[in-house]
């Protein structure tokens, strides 16, 4: 059965790119969110297996959204999407309970490997 993924990023470009990287590899993108509030709402509605979470988003940061989702469901699996220069924020997200992270610009094989690892993690 396909791993169900919710993709959160304020850039359509990035949401589309993640979708195109992971869908041929057995992941199913079940939803997209363009801000930190919508991702929490979509998580509650869709119950995905994994969330890919951009850090810098409108309305609520990706890190705040991680905390909120994990408060709703402590077993949620979240992979942060970060860019160069965001090391401190990634550390904060991992400490908040995010399972792992991927870095922009994406190396497709690293994105897939990370999401497979996250999907297999026990929570």
């Amino acid at each position: 059965m396909a791993v169900r993924v919710l993709v959160a990023d304020d850039a359509r470009f990035m949401r589309q790119l993640i979708r195109e990287i992971i869908e041929p590899e057995g992941f199913e993108v079940v939803g997209e969110a363009a801000d930190g509030r919508a991702v929490v709402e979509e998580f509650t509605r869709l119950h995905p297996d994994i969330v890919t979470m951009d850090i810098v988003m409108p309305k609520r940061s990706g890190i705040d959204a991680v905390r909120e989702i994990l408060a709703l469901d402590a077993t949620a699996k979240i992979a942060m999407v970060s860019a160069l220069g965001q090391e401190a924020l990634v550390m904060e997200a991992l400490q908040a309970g995010a399972a792992d992270y991927i870095v922009k610009p994406f190396k497709p094989e690293a994105v897939i490997a990370t999401l497979k690892k996250v999907a297999e993690k026990e929570r």
Binding site: M14, V56, E87, L94, P105, A110, A113, K116
Partner: protein
């Protein structure tokens, strides 16, 4: 990755972002401590950096990264607190607009603007680097 499709997505989204940045800079001109406008410009510049890097447009990602660093400093200090701040931001916007125009006209990567990057970097504070857990190796075939 289909380069034409993603170039078009970049052009569409970057054009929207630059228009929004322009409006936010006008707000900052009225009030250099307008936190929401500063946050908005930071987020949009960050987004341009990611898209530029994904397409190999190093000129875009380098300029956006420098702008992001400066914006990060201003956000931390509660507003644009130096005299050259706003003029630099407007120059940054013009630089990014020129680059996006060049992508549209040539369908290739735009030329860099080392002078502007240097001007932005002159007073930028380098962010402390933290060591992260390693990324996974390639997926086994």
């Amino acid at each position: 990755m289909d380069p034409v499709k993603y170039r078009n997505l970049f052009l569409e989204e970057a054009t929207e972002h630059l228009a929004e940045i322009g409006r936010a800079l006008l707000e900052l001109e009225k009030d250099p401590r307008a936190g929401e406008s500063l946050d908005l410009v930071f987020r949009l510049v960050h987004s341009l950096k990611g898209m530029g890097a994904s397409l190999g447009y190093d000129a875009v990602s380098t300029l956006a990264h420098r702008l992001e660093d400066r914006l990060g400093g201003w956000r931390a200090r509660g507003g644009i607190d130096d005299a050259d701040g706003l003029p630099l931001l407007f120059r940054g916007l013009e630089g990014l607009e020129r680059m996006v125009r060049e992508v549209r006209e040539t369908c290739g990567p735009p030329a860099p603007d080392p002078e502007l990057v240097a001007a932005l970097g002159a007073a930028a504070e380098p962010a402390p680097r933290k060591k992260l857990p390693p990324q996974p190796a390639r997926v086994a075939e």
